[in-house]
Protein backbone atom coordinates (compact mmCIF):
# COMPACT_ATOMS: atom_id res chain seq x y z
CA UNK A 1 0.00 0.00 0.00
CA UNK A 2 1.58 3.28 -1.09
CA UNK A 3 1.30 6.48 0.89
CA UNK A 4 -0.07 9.53 -0.89
CA UNK A 5 1.72 12.76 -0.13
CA UNK A 6 0.67 15.33 -2.71
CA UNK A 7 -2.63 16.49 -4.19
CA UNK A 8 -1.44 15.35 -7.63
CA UNK A 9 -0.84 11.89 -6.21
CA UNK A 10 -4.39 11.82 -4.81
CA UNK A 11 -5.69 12.86 -8.23
CA UNK A 12 -3.74 10.01 -9.85
CA UNK A 13 -4.92 7.54 -7.20
CA UNK A 14 -8.52 8.66 -7.82
CA UNK A 15 -8.14 8.10 -11.56
CA UNK A 16 -6.68 4.65 -10.99
CA UNK A 17 -9.29 3.73 -8.36
CA UNK A 18 -12.07 4.74 -10.77
CA UNK A 19 -10.62 2.21 -13.21
CA UNK A 20 -10.86 -0.50 -10.54
CA UNK A 21 -7.32 -0.40 -9.12
CA UNK A 22 -7.74 -1.80 -5.58
CA UNK A 23 -4.28 -0.62 -4.45
CA UNK A 24 -5.08 2.94 -5.47
CA UNK A 25 -8.34 2.79 -3.53
CA UNK A 26 -6.49 1.38 -0.50
CA UNK A 27 -4.03 4.30 -0.75
CA UNK A 28 -6.95 6.77 -0.74
CA UNK A 29 -8.39 5.04 2.33
CA UNK A 30 -5.01 5.16 4.11
CA UNK A 31 -4.67 8.85 3.31
CA UNK A 32 -8.07 9.80 4.74
CA UNK A 33 -8.74 7.12 7.37
CA UNK A 34 -7.55 9.22 10.31
CA UNK A 35 -9.85 12.10 9.34
CA UNK A 36 -12.94 9.91 8.85
CA UNK A 37 -12.27 7.69 11.86
CA UNK A 38 -11.55 10.66 14.17
CA UNK A 39 -14.70 12.56 13.17
CA UNK A 40 -16.77 9.50 14.10
CA UNK A 41 -14.65 8.69 17.18
CA UNK A 42 -14.98 12.20 18.63
CA UNK A 43 -18.70 12.09 17.95
CA UNK A 44 -19.43 8.67 19.50
CA UNK A 45 -16.46 8.22 21.86
CA UNK A 46 -16.55 4.64 20.69
CA UNK A 47 -13.76 3.11 18.63
CA UNK A 48 -15.80 0.16 17.33
CA UNK A 49 -18.66 2.38 16.23
CA UNK A 50 -16.21 4.83 14.63
CA UNK A 51 -14.63 2.00 12.66
CA UNK A 52 -18.06 0.79 11.53
CA UNK A 53 -19.00 4.30 10.36
CA UNK A 54 -15.60 4.63 8.66
CA UNK A 55 -16.14 1.38 6.75
CA UNK A 56 -19.59 2.49 5.63
CA UNK A 57 -18.24 5.85 4.48
CA UNK A 58 -15.44 4.30 2.40
CA UNK A 59 -17.81 1.68 0.94
CA UNK A 60 -20.09 4.52 -0.12
CA UNK A 61 -17.07 6.34 -1.53
CA UNK A 62 -16.15 3.27 -3.58
CA UNK A 63 -19.63 3.19 -5.08
CA UNK A 64 -19.48 6.93 -5.83
CA UNK A 65 -15.92 7.29 -7.11
CA UNK A 66 -17.28 8.45 -10.45
CA UNK A 67 -18.89 11.53 -8.89
CA UNK A 68 -15.74 12.71 -7.07
CA UNK A 69 -14.32 15.69 -8.96
CA UNK A 70 -10.89 15.89 -7.38
CA UNK A 71 -8.86 15.82 -4.13
CA UNK A 72 -10.56 18.85 -2.53
CA UNK A 73 -14.00 17.52 -3.40
CA UNK A 74 -12.99 14.12 -2.03
CA UNK A 75 -12.04 15.62 1.37
CA UNK A 76 -15.25 17.68 1.48
CA UNK A 77 -17.34 14.65 0.44
CA UNK A 78 -15.78 12.43 3.13
CA UNK A 79 -16.34 15.04 5.87
CA UNK A 80 -19.94 15.60 4.75
CA UNK A 81 -20.87 11.92 4.47
CA UNK A 82 -19.16 11.05 7.77
CA UNK A 83 -20.87 13.81 9.75
CA UNK A 84 -24.24 12.98 8.18
CA UNK A 85 -23.85 9.26 8.91
CA UNK A 86 -22.86 9.95 12.53
CA UNK A 87 -25.84 12.20 13.23
CA UNK A 88 -28.26 9.94 11.33
CA UNK A 89 -27.09 6.80 13.10
CA UNK A 90 -27.30 8.40 16.52
CA UNK A 91 -30.80 9.70 15.85
CA UNK A 92 -31.94 6.39 14.36
CA UNK A 93 -30.63 4.24 17.15
CA UNK A 94 -31.46 6.82 19.85
CA UNK A 95 -28.13 5.94 21.39
CA UNK A 96 -26.22 8.43 23.41
CA UNK A 97 -22.50 8.84 22.96
CA UNK A 98 -20.69 6.48 25.30
CA UNK A 99 -19.22 8.30 28.30
CA UNK A 100 -15.44 8.35 28.38
CA UNK A 101 -15.33 6.39 31.64
CA UNK A 102 -16.43 3.19 29.90
CA UNK A 103 -14.35 3.60 26.77
CA UNK A 104 -10.86 2.46 26.17
CA UNK A 105 -9.27 5.70 25.03
CA UNK A 106 -7.17 5.94 21.92
CA UNK A 107 -3.82 7.59 22.20
CA UNK A 108 -3.26 10.70 20.09
CA UNK A 109 -0.07 10.77 18.04
CA UNK A 110 1.01 13.81 20.09
CA UNK A 111 0.75 13.43 23.88
CA UNK A 112 -1.37 16.17 25.46
CA UNK A 113 0.42 18.62 27.76
CA UNK A 114 -2.06 17.94 30.55
CA UNK A 115 -3.68 14.49 30.13
CA UNK A 116 -6.14 15.06 33.00
CA UNK A 117 -7.38 18.35 31.56
CA UNK A 118 -7.47 16.79 28.11
CA UNK A 119 -9.68 14.00 29.42
CA UNK A 120 -11.92 16.47 31.24
CA UNK A 121 -12.36 18.56 28.07
CA UNK A 122 -13.25 15.46 26.06
CA UNK A 123 -15.74 14.43 28.74
CA UNK A 124 -17.42 17.85 28.50
CA UNK A 125 -17.42 17.71 24.69
CA UNK A 126 -19.11 14.28 24.86
CA UNK A 127 -21.93 15.85 26.89
CA UNK A 128 -22.67 18.55 24.31
CA UNK A 129 -25.75 18.22 22.06
CA UNK A 130 -25.09 16.13 18.89
CA UNK A 131 -24.93 18.95 16.35
CA UNK A 132 -22.79 21.17 18.59
CA UNK A 133 -20.40 18.26 19.12
CA UNK A 134 -20.07 17.63 15.38
CA UNK A 135 -19.57 21.33 14.58
CA UNK A 136 -16.98 21.67 17.34
CA UNK A 137 -15.14 18.61 15.99
CA UNK A 138 -15.12 20.01 12.46
CA UNK A 139 -13.84 23.32 13.84
CA UNK A 140 -11.02 21.99 16.01
CA UNK A 141 -10.16 18.59 14.54
CA UNK A 142 -10.34 19.69 10.91
CA UNK A 143 -9.49 23.35 11.53
CA UNK A 144 -12.44 24.52 9.41
CA UNK A 145 -13.92 27.99 9.76
CA UNK A 146 -17.73 28.48 10.02
CA UNK A 147 -18.09 29.23 6.30
CA UNK A 148 -16.51 25.84 5.50
CA UNK A 149 -18.42 23.99 8.25
CA UNK A 150 -21.75 25.29 6.95
CA UNK A 151 -21.08 23.61 3.59
CA UNK A 152 -20.26 20.31 5.30
CA UNK A 153 -23.30 20.21 7.60
CA UNK A 154 -25.54 22.08 5.12
CA UNK A 155 -26.69 24.73 7.57
CA UNK A 156 -26.74 28.53 7.29
CA UNK A 157 -23.44 30.04 8.41
CA UNK A 158 -25.17 32.00 11.20
CA UNK A 159 -26.63 28.78 12.58
CA UNK A 160 -23.16 27.22 12.60
CA UNK A 161 -21.72 30.30 14.35
CA UNK A 162 -24.52 30.18 16.90
CA UNK A 163 -23.94 26.44 17.63
CA UNK A 164 -20.21 27.07 17.93
CA UNK A 165 -20.75 30.04 20.24
CA UNK A 166 -23.13 28.10 22.49
CA UNK A 167 -20.79 25.09 22.63
CA UNK A 168 -17.79 27.24 23.60
CA UNK A 169 -19.87 29.16 26.15
CA UNK A 170 -21.05 25.90 27.71
CA UNK A 171 -17.51 24.48 27.83
CA UNK A 172 -16.06 27.69 29.35
CA UNK A 173 -18.76 27.80 31.99
CA UNK A 174 -18.40 24.14 32.91
CA UNK A 175 -14.60 24.25 32.91
CA UNK A 176 -14.80 27.35 35.15
CA UNK A 177 -17.09 25.49 37.51
CA UNK A 178 -14.60 22.64 38.02
Amino acid sequence: MTAIVTEAAVETALDRARQGDADAFAAIVSEHEAMVFSLAYHFFNDSARAEEIGQDVFLQLYRNLGSIEGPAHLTHWLRQVTSRKCIDQLRRSKLRAVPLEVVGEIESPARPADPLLDRKVRQLIAELPDVQRMILTLRYQEDLDPSEICRVVEMPVNTVKSHLHRALQSLRRRLGEQ
Partner: protein
Protein backbone atom coordinates in the same frame (compact mmCIF):
# COMPACT_ATOMS: atom_id res chain seq x y z
CA UNK B 1 -3.46 26.81 28.11
CA UNK B 2 -6.48 28.62 26.59
CA UNK B 3 -9.71 26.82 25.64
CA UNK B 4 -8.98 26.88 21.89
CA UNK B 5 -5.65 25.09 22.39
CA UNK B 6 -7.26 22.63 24.79
CA UNK B 7 -9.92 21.83 22.19
CA UNK B 8 -7.33 21.38 19.44
CA UNK B 9 -5.45 18.97 21.68
CA UNK B 10 -8.56 17.06 22.82
CA UNK B 11 -9.93 16.80 19.28
CA UNK B 12 -6.68 15.94 17.53
CA UNK B 13 -6.94 13.33 14.78
CA UNK B 14 -6.48 9.75 15.95
CA UNK B 15 -5.34 6.75 13.97
CA UNK B 16 -7.90 3.97 13.51
CA UNK B 17 -7.03 0.48 14.76
CA UNK B 18 -4.32 -1.24 12.70
CA UNK B 19 -5.53 -2.93 9.52
CA UNK B 20 -8.46 -0.56 9.04
CA UNK B 21 -7.69 0.16 5.34
CA UNK B 22 -7.24 -3.57 4.62
CA UNK B 23 -10.58 -4.32 6.24
CA UNK B 24 -12.24 -1.61 4.13
CA UNK B 25 -10.74 -3.00 0.92
CA UNK B 26 -11.81 -6.52 1.94
CA UNK B 27 -15.34 -5.21 2.56
CA UNK B 28 -15.33 -3.53 -0.85
CA UNK B 29 -14.30 -6.81 -2.48
CA UNK B 30 -16.98 -8.70 -0.53
CA UNK B 31 -19.68 -6.37 -1.89
CA UNK B 32 -22.56 -4.95 0.12
CA UNK B 33 -22.49 -5.74 3.83
CA UNK B 34 -24.57 -8.66 5.13
CA UNK B 35 -27.20 -6.36 6.57
CA UNK B 36 -27.53 -4.57 3.23
CA UNK B 37 -27.86 -7.93 1.48
CA UNK B 38 -30.45 -8.88 4.13
CA UNK B 39 -32.34 -5.63 3.49
CA UNK B 40 -32.34 -6.36 -0.25
CA UNK B 41 -33.55 -9.92 0.36
CA UNK B 42 -36.43 -8.67 2.53
CA UNK B 43 -37.39 -6.11 -0.10
CA UNK B 44 -37.40 -8.84 -2.77
CA UNK B 45 -39.56 -11.10 -0.56
CA UNK B 46 -41.97 -8.23 0.15
CA UNK B 47 -42.20 -7.40 -3.57
CA UNK B 48 -42.82 -11.07 -4.44
CA UNK B 49 -45.51 -11.34 -1.74
CA UNK B 50 -47.21 -8.18 -3.01
CA UNK B 51 -47.12 -9.46 -6.59
CA UNK B 52 -48.63 -12.79 -5.45
CA UNK B 53 -51.44 -10.98 -3.61
CA UNK B 54 -52.17 -8.76 -6.64
CA UNK B 55 -52.11 -11.69 -9.12
CA UNK B 56 -54.15 -13.86 -6.75
CA UNK B 57 -56.74 -11.12 -6.30
CA UNK B 58 -56.94 -10.52 -10.03
CA UNK B 59 -57.35 -14.27 -10.75
CA UNK B 60 -60.04 -14.65 -8.07
CA UNK B 61 -61.87 -11.65 -9.53
CA UNK B 62 -61.68 -13.16 -13.04
CA UNK B 63 -63.01 -16.53 -11.82
CA UNK B 64 -65.87 -14.86 -9.92
CA UNK B 65 -66.80 -12.80 -12.99
CA UNK B 66 -66.75 -15.88 -15.23
CA UNK B 67 -68.96 -17.80 -12.78
CA UNK B 68 -71.36 -14.88 -12.57
CA UNK B 69 -71.51 -14.75 -16.40
CA UNK B 70 -72.21 -18.50 -16.63
CA UNK B 71 -74.93 -18.28 -13.99
CA UNK B 72 -76.59 -15.39 -15.86
CA UNK B 73 -76.33 -17.30 -19.15
CA UNK B 74 -77.90 -20.42 -17.57
CA UNK B 75 -80.73 -18.31 -16.13
CA UNK B 76 -81.43 -16.77 -19.53
CA UNK B 77 -81.43 -20.23 -21.21
CA UNK B 78 -83.77 -21.59 -18.52
CA UNK B 79 -86.08 -18.59 -18.98
CA UNK B 80 -86.06 -19.15 -22.75
CA UNK B 81 -86.77 -22.87 -22.28
CA UNK B 82 -89.73 -22.09 -19.96
CA UNK B 83 -91.03 -19.43 -22.33
CA UNK B 84 -90.66 -21.85 -25.28
CA UNK B 85 -92.57 -24.58 -23.42
CA UNK B 86 -95.36 -22.13 -22.58
CA UNK B 87 -95.57 -20.93 -26.19
CA UNK B 88 -95.69 -24.53 -27.37
CA UNK B 89 -98.46 -25.29 -24.80
CA UNK B 90 -100.44 -22.24 -25.95
CA UNK B 91 -100.03 -23.26 -29.61
CA UNK B 92 -101.32 -26.76 -28.78
CA UNK B 93 -104.32 -25.31 -26.94
CA UNK B 94 -105.09 -22.95 -29.83
CA UNK B 95 -104.70 -25.80 -32.31
CA UNK B 96 -107.05 -28.07 -30.23
CA UNK B 97 -109.73 -25.37 -29.96
CA UNK B 98 -109.50 -24.79 -33.72
CA UNK B 99 -109.90 -28.47 -34.60
CA UNK B 100 -112.91 -28.86 -32.23
CA UNK B 101 -114.71 -26.04 -34.06
Amino acid sequence: MDLESQLKSALARKQPPPGFASRVVAAVNRGPRTEERGRFRWRAIAAAAMLTVILGGWTAHEIAERREGERARNEVLLALRIAGAKVRYAQTQVHDIGSKR
